[in-house]
Every structure is written in structure tokens, then in C-alpha cells.
Amino acid sequence: MTILTTRVLIIGAGVTGAGLLRDLALRGVQALLIEQRDVNSGASGGNHGLLHSGARYVASDVEAAVGCREEGDILRRLAPQCIEDTGGLFVAVRGDDEGYVSDFSALCVKSGVPCQGLELRTARAMEPALSENLIAAFAVQDGAVDPFMLSLDNIAQAMSLGCSMRRNLAAVSMEVTDGRVTLVRCRDITTGGEVLIETELVINASGAWAGRIAALAGAHINILYSMGSLIITQDRIATRVINRLRPPSDADILVPGGTVSILGTTSIRVPTPDGCRPSVAETDHIIDDARAMLPILGRTRYIRAYAGVRPLVSLGPAGDDRAVSRGFSLIDHASEGVENFMTITGGKLTTYRLMAEKAADLACAKLGVTAPCRTRKEPLPPSSMGKWTEPGRGPKSWVESRAEDDIVLCECEMVSRSVIDAIVDEAKDMRGRSMLKAIGMRSRVGKGPCQGGFCGPRITGHLYDREISTGTQGLAELKTFTERRWRGFSPILWGVPLMQADLQEALHCGAMDLEFGPAPSTRDEESENCPATAFKEPS
């Protein structure tokens, strides 16, 4: 059993928790961030990667629109390494709501969101993949953001200022004495051992799990879970973000992600945030809808799908006036009798910094710290932790500065052995359920067309060579990794990807008999699967 002491305990290493760690670190407040799995395991790891211009919300939520615009500007200025400033288009096709189209421009002006009407010819010259049936087009300032690099860079800077982070630590109970949380009991997922944390203040930044964590402290939040699925194309379809110009609906947005494009999304109520995965029905629905604006989406090769769960906080006994401000919820549970416990949840990736700022403001008020927030001005330094998630970085570094005896282990994304070694060395003690998974999270391994089918076994061999894997553990981790990638792979298996899957199963099962033991280690944590049948095809 280990005992840790910290001034502030942040639970949940999504982008909000990461941003919060950094904000507090910059204010000189020591904090510990704990996470039950790995960085961005929740919605922060399952979103569109879109830096909203705000134009999407000008009709439905003006505050959100303004917030997105302001925060987007800040991020572009202060964290450019995480952002590709692609610009965006809003396009409507024949059959779309013409009223919405005609109001759009004026609404953008009202929200202060820059927006410029385009001639259809111009729009199609800018993005040749667009349909010939366009009826309107506008240019906006959307961008693409890498949420992994964002979180990792935030955490890296915070750690350089004296804060710390522990992965694979799940909070299981809290001791509340005299209206204060005094102790948080955690379980170390890797070892199974117990870790006790003594802290002055607990910030619940666990996103969709906020309700469960709050309950540990005896607080109550009503959270509804909305799952959204997205699919990734093998190649980058458009240079810019392409939005459907209609009242926000499914399959509205195509966002470039480096060398690929991400198409989505859907919105389905699910009963639990755990184990949610994209379904075949959603995939087909997204493609059938989106190809109206980009016909090539009906023919192109997809490499995987993924899903994230958005927490929707319903107005309940907790948080009335503070609740649902700017689309996010900052709840001070003092109103429920727990004085040093607060929750920050909801919101959008684009506004994470603002959420962290507000939460940190409240935290500092409680702690009696007067240092002001610095994240509006302070640039976010790029970190080595985050650098290998950038698409294209692996191959570029291979061509330009390959070490003499280095070899490529992940062929699709050209991630070399030396890069994998660097990642492993950094994450070695925090492997969690699978070192392979950890590598996958910190790099592009497994994200290419083979979806880990080839690189999984190769890297497993390498991990054995380095004596990081022993016994049958490496095989168990390979299976974990494969199952994890399977969640995203199985919905898009037709055409060429089905051939790829055919080949993968021939290799893993037909040739290596891996379907026999050892068991993958994912089973216990995701025993409740979200029923994929919850999705109903629109009529």
C-alpha cells in the first residue's frame, strides 16, 4: 500500500484535467492528476479533433459560438503545434433547409464569428471533392486539433513545474469527514495494489464518469451519456474542415487529421460510458448522409471507426446557476455538504482551457491562492511526450535522420524501432494493461490501414527482445491491443478493409492460433458493453 499526499487532486486525465493540471501549476499550486486508464481515454480521445470556429452554434447556442471563437483564437496563438489551421467551409446541397442557409450569414455576424460567402465555383475549386449539387458555401475559421498532443503537452509542462500524474489509478472510495474529503482510496490497475491519497481539494474532471466519482463523495450529478461515432478515411479527402450547412445533425462534419480525414458524427443515448464502440449501422448512416456533400465518401477506403461518450449534465438538484454555463458545468459540491469537492464536466474540446480556468479559479478561491490564471497568455511548449502522435512525423524523421541499424516496425505509419524504444522508455513503468496500447496511444502505431494486424505482432516480438515482455504476457497484451483496435476496425469491414481483416485473422488465428489462451486483459473493465442495437436508423 502506498500513501501519496497532494495539495490538489485532479481525477481524470482528459483534456480538461490536463489543462487544469497545467493551469494550477502555472499558478504555483501543487497538484496530482490521477487517471484510471490512460490520457484521453474518454471523450477527449474519441472526438472529431475539431477546433470550432463557432459557426456551427450561431443558430442554436450563441454563447457557445462566441466561446469557441475566442478560445480558438487563443489556442491558435498559444499551442500552434497542436493545431493545423486548415480553415473550414460550410456547404449546403440541394434539399437542405434553405431558410437556415439564408439566415446563416447574419447569425454569424451577430455572434462575431467571421464568415465569408463563396461562389460555388470557388468553393469547388478550393475543394474538388465537393458535390456538384451545392447550393451555398461559406468560408469560416475552423481548424483541426490533435487532442492527444494537446493533453500530453499540457501534462508535460505541468510536470516540469513540479506537478505529477499517475495513470492506471482508479479512485474507488472517498472518506468524507466533517464535510470534507480527507482521503481518496485508489486501486492500481497494473499491480492490483491499493494507493491512498491525502489531499486538500479534489477536482472531479472525469468527464462522463463524473457522476460515479461524485457519488464516491456522496455528491449527486445527473449525467446522461451521449455516444458519438466517427469514421476515418485512409486519405485526406479535403484540405479544410467541411461542415454541412443545416441545423446540427448527424454526419455533418469532415475534419482533416494530418494524413487522414475524420467523418462524423452520431448521437445516441447509452446507459454507461464504458465499453462503447461504434456500430455497423452508425457507420452506414454516416456515409449515406455525408456523401450528399462529398460523393467520394461513398467510395473511399475507410481504415477505422471510433466512438466517444459525451457527458450531458441534466439540471438537477446540484448546480443551478452555475450549471450549464457556456455549455459546460462547473459544480461546487459545497452546496451538497462536501466543501472541498468540485466537478467540472461537459463542454467542448475547443473550450477546454476556459473550463480549466474557471475550475482553477474556484479551486484557488477555496485554497486561498491569489495567483492569477496565466493560460490566456502563456504559450504551451511542445513536449517530447506528445511529438510522436503527429501524423507524418515518424516517416519524416525516418527519411531525414535514420540511425544506421534502425528498422521500421510499424510500416503503415513508418514508426521505427528507435521511436518505439523512446516511447517505451518513457512509459515503461506505467504500462497498464498493455504496453502495446500505451505505444499506440503515444504514436501512430496501429492507426494505419493494417490497424495493428502486422505491426502488433512485430512490436510484440520487439518487446520480448527488450525483455519488457516475459512469459505469455506479451501475447496477452497483443490480444488486448488487437481487441482494442478491433472495436474500431469491425464497423468498416467491407471492400478492401475486409480483405485486410481477412489477412489479419489468417495471420493471428489461422497461422498463429492466438485465439487460444492467454486471455486478453480487457475483459474485466469493459464487461458492460453498450448495446450497439440502441442505434435506430433514421426513417
Binding site: T300, R301, G392, M499
Partner: protein
């Protein structure tokens, strides 16, 4: 000293000195090409005899031109005609007169032969002119047209000179003054009448037509003139040309004078120009044909002098360029030095250090596009050992650091090229490229099976593919799939690819690997060309 003597001396001096200068060039350029290797076998005695026979056959029978009937016929006619004209007519003073007693230019068979040979020459030259217009226009330069014009001029002016001489009353008078003594008063007029009627002389005065006077004229002619004058009708070309001049025009004397100067002047011009360009080809090509001994390959031993001679022997017939295997590259790139005829001329200039930097770059490019297929050497009418010239010049250019696109690319590493090219918009190849490397569909099928790399012979012969080739074929496909073209252009795999097509044939998913690698080469070459300021 008169026009003729001065002209002759000057022309001969020019020809002789010029020829010596040209021959000096053979040595000089041969040396500049570098030492020939000793790897070609030396022929034995029988071999040498064979070469002699072969060389003579080439020279005399124009064997190497036989594949093109039009050219062979034209050339043969021209040589059959013009050769004797030079020897028997132009040089009649030193050749015909001493060897043939009683020679007079106005006597048959010489008069007839002169016309015959002249006609053959004109026919032959016309065929050659037609050939040049129909198939060689794009290759032709000033020297080609000038030679045709000068020879044509000589021939036509010769006929015209003879025509006017035939018609010239002044010449008649001169002859009569020198050789005829009139016994009776009608004798002269009879002779005139006879000559006017039979030999086409144009007299201003009215001439009688009475039969007994014509008879008298015939007798007198037989007696006094026929010894040196055959009927001018045997000068069948010139005589027929006289009918082109209307009877009312009495310009024969002036015409004769004019065309004498034209004819002799052009002849001297032609002689003086002998050392210039194409004019020299009868000498250089003739010698080259003899020394090459009839072979069509690159098997004969080479020496310095032979190389220099070869460079000079080009007749600009254009056959090499017309048959060049890489002519399509010339159609696309427009670089004239891709084709052998211009490449040869520029190589010659290059060896004289007279080539501009732009042209020099074109020469380097053309040299390296050449695939050494041997076709030009086989079809060369002049029998030049082109293969030897190409290989030697390629070697010396490479040694001087001018190795063409392939060499330029290898001067920097793949990483360095990636950095330099990363910021550029690497457009699609030319406009003529299929853009396979840019199209996403090209890579949709790739399942990372690495079969392409497994069958690649270039990878097979490399001891360390990552070190020697930078990237394997399937790695290049991956980079392109990710849109990272700049990273691939400098990879030595791209530049070592033999386009054997095994990768593309074996790919289970239809990725056009070989076509894409070739496209990258095209793009790389285009980029380098732009850097050199040529496009």
C-alpha cells in the same frame, strides 16, 4: 591575274587549309574524349581484309544507305553525276585533256556526258532535297540547305551557262574570228544559218533558209567545225533549255557572261567552303566509311583519331534521330540533344569548349537519357561508331561531375532533398503524367503485405537496403499514401529502379508500384531541370 586564277587559288587555299584544320580537329577532339579502353578485340589478318572489303563496299556502293531507297538513289545519282563532273569537267585541264587526245568540251562524248552527268546530279540532288524536306526538315540547319543550294546552283548555272553559250552569237563570232576564213561571201552566212538551225545559235540578223545554202553550211561545218564541235543537240539538257528563252530576246551574251561568273563563282565557293560543316562530309565521311570496315556494331577497336574522325563524319542524314529509341522523350522534353544527330554536333562543340552552359546541361541530360541501345550505330549512313562516342562521353561527363539527373540526385541524401522540397508545391508530373502518385485510389488496396519489396531485384542485390536505397518500395507507397511526396523523391530506390515491373505484377491488390516509381523519377527530373533553368 584574272578572276579565275585568283578565285581558284583562294578556293584551293581555303579548301586545303580548312581541311587541314578539320583534320587537326580529329586529333584534338579525340584526345579530349579520353583514352579509349583496350577491351575491344583486335582483328586478325582475315579480319582486316574483311574490313577493307567492307569499307570499300560501303564507300563505293553506299551500302549503309540502302535501307532508304530514296536516299540511296538520290545519293548514288548525285555521286555518279557530280563525281565525273568534277573530275572530267571541272578538272578537265589536268585530267581529261592530258589523257584523252583531241579532247574538247564541245565534243562528244564529253558534251553529252557532261549533260548526262549533270542531269543525273540534278535528279539525285532533287531526290535528296525532297527527302530532306519530307523527313528531315526539323533537323535541318543552314549548312544543310546551303550545301544543297550551292550544288544545285552549280548544276543549274552550269546548264544555263551552256545554254547561253549555245545561243551566244558573240561566241560564234569569236570562234569564227579565230578559226574561219571566208573564201566566198555566202560561206559565213551559210555557216551561220546552219548553226542557227542545227545548233541553236541566236543571231540578230535575218538568216536565209534556202536549202542549197544550208547544204553549204553543213559542208563548211563538217570541214571546219565538226572536229571540235559535236552537234549541240547532244547537250540535250542545255539545248532544250534554250527553248525557254523567247526568240525575241537577245540576251545570250550577257547571260553567258553572267552565268559564267555564277557558275565558276559558285564552284569556287563550294570549294572554299569545303571545310565548313556539311561540305566536308565527302572527305570525312568517305574516310570514316573506309576505316570502319563495313561493321554495324561497336566491335571494332577504337582509337583517338577514329573518334575525332567519327565526330566529323556526320552527313546530317538524320537517320539516327529518326530511329532513336528514346525519341518519345524528345517529343515530350524538347531537348534536341536527346536525339543522336544534334547530340553529336553538341558533343563536338563541347569538346571544343564552345558549348553554352544551357546547351551543356542539355547535352548532359541527353547523354544520360540515351539507353545505349545501339540502333543509331546500326543505321548510321556514315558508319560512325556512335556507341563508342556515347559511352566515352558519358564516362567523361560523369567523371567531371556531370552525371545527369541520376547523378545530381545522388549528390544529396534523401533527407536533404526532403527538407529542400518540403516547402514546395510538388505538383503533378508535367501535365502529361497520370498523377498516379497523387491519387488516393492508387493506394486504397495496399494491405502492407510487402510482396513488392520481396520480389524487387534491386532490393535483392543490395546488401543493406535501408542504407543503400533509403526506402523499400512498399515504404515509398506508404509515404505517398500519407501525402509525403517530398520524402520519396530523393530516395535512391526511386533512382535505382530498373522498371522490371515485378512489383506491380505481383502486387495482390493492384497497386501500380512500378508506374508510380517511374512517375517520381519524372517529377525529380523536372524539378532538377527547373533548377538548372531549363524546362
Amino acid at each position: 591575274m584574272d578572276f579565275f586564277s585568283i578565285g581558284l587559288v583562294l578556293a584551293c587555299a581555303s579548301a586545303a587549309l580548312g581541311a587541314l584544320w578539320r583534320m587537326r580537329g580529329w586529333f584534338k577532339r579525340g584526345v579530349a574524349m579520353g583514352r579509349p579502353g583496350q577491351d575491344r578485340p583486335r582483328p586478325g589478318v582475315l579480319g582486316i581484309l574483311g574490313m577493307l572489303v567492307g569499307g570499300l563496299a560501303d564507300l563505293v556502293l553506299l551500302r549503309r544507305t540502302m535501307r532508304s531507297p530514296l536516299r540511296w538513289t538520290g545519293h548514288t545519282l548525285l555521286i555518279l553525276g557530280f563525281g565525273p563532273l568534277i573530275v572530267l569537267h571541272a578538272m578537265d585541264g589536268v585530267v581529261t585533256r592530258p589523257f584523252f587526245a583531241g579532247y574538247e568540251p564541245t565534243l562528244d562524248p564529253w558534251q553529252f556526258l557532261r549533260n548526262l552527268f549533270g542531269l543525273l546530279s540534278v535528279l539525285g540532288l532533287t531526290l535528296l532535297f525532297l527527302n530532306r524536306c519530307m523527313t528531315l526538315k526539323k533537323f535541318s540547319k543552314l549548312q544543310d540547305w546551303t550545301l544543297i543550294a550551292v550544288v544545285f546552283g552549280i548544276l543549274i548555272s552550269g546548264f544555263l551557262l551552256e545554254s547561253f553559250k549555245i545561243m551566244s552569237a558573240g561566241d560564234f563570232k569569236r570562234m569564227v574570228d579565230d578559226y574561219f576564213v571566208e573564201a566566198e561571201s555566202e560561206e559565213l552566212i551559210s555557216l551561220k544559218a546552219y548553226w542557227a538551225r542545227e545548233n541553236g545559235v541566236r543571231f540578230r540578223q535575218f538568216l536565209p533558209t534556202a536549202p542549197e545554202l544550208l547544204e553549204l553550211g553543213a559542208e563548211l561545218h563538217e570541214d571546219r567545225c565538226a572536229g571540235c564541235h559535236s552537234p549541240t543537240s547532244s547537250a540535250f539538257v542545255s539545248r532544250s533549255m534554250t527553248s525557254l528563252v523567247p526568240a525575241s530576246l537577245y540576251i545570250a551574251d550577257q547571260g553567258r557572261d553572267l552565268f559564267w561568273y555564277v557558275h565558276v563563282g559558285l564552284a569556287f565557293l563550294g570549294l572554299a567552303l569545303l571545310p565548313w560543316g556539311k561540305f566536308f562530309h565527302p572527305v570525312a565521311t568517305g574516310i570514316n566509311l573506309l576505316t570502319r570496315g563495313g561493321t554495324r556494331t561497336a566491335d571494332t577497336p577504337t582509337h583517338t583519331l577514329a573518334r575525332g574522325l567519327g565526330l566529323d563524319a556526320c552527313t546530317r542524314c538524320g537517320q539516327c534521330s529518326l530511329h532513336c529509341s528514346v525519341a518519345p522523350a524528345h517529343r515530350v522534353l524538347g531537348n534536341p540533344d536527346i536525339l543522336p544527330m544534334d547530340k553529336l554536333a553538341d558533343l563536338r562543340c563541347h569538346l571544343d569548349d564552345r558549348l553554352s552552359p544551357g546547351r551543356s546541361a542539355a547535352l548532359v541530360e541527353g547523354s544520360h537519357i540515351c539507353t545505349e541501345c545501339l540502333r543509331c550505330t546500326q543505321v548510321c549512313s556514315a558508319g560512325i561508331d556512335l556507341q563508342d562516342l556515347w559511352m566515352a562521353s558519358k564516362k567523361s561527363l560523369t567523371e567531371a561531375g556531370r552525371a545527369g539527373v541520376d547523378g545530381e540526385i545522388r549528390k544529396r541524401t534523401a533527407g536533404e532533398w526532403a527538407r529542400e522540397l518540403a516547402s514546395r508545391d510538388l505538383g503533378r508530373v508535367g501535365g502529361t503524367g497520370a498523377g498516379l502518385a497523387d491519387r488516393a485510389e492508387s493506394f486504397w488496396g495496399c494491405v502492407q503485405c510487402t510482396t513488392c519489396t520481396g520480389v524487387c531485384p534491386v532490393v535483392a542485390v543490395s546488401e543493406d537496403p535501408s542504407r543503400d536505397l533509403d526506402l523499400a518500395p512498399q515504404q515509398i507507397m506508404n509515404l505517398l499514401r500519407m501525402g509525403l511526396k517530398a520524402q520519396t523523391l530523393g530516395a535512391r530506390m526511386v533512382w535505382s529502379c530498373t522498371t522490371c515491373y515485378k512489383c506491380q505484377e505481383h502486387c495482390p491488390q493492384g497497386v501500380p508500384v512500378a508506374d508510380i516509381l517511374y512517375e517520381l523519377r519524372q517529377l525529380g527530373a523536372e524539378i532538377l531541370r527547373k533548377k538548372e533553368g531549363r524546362s
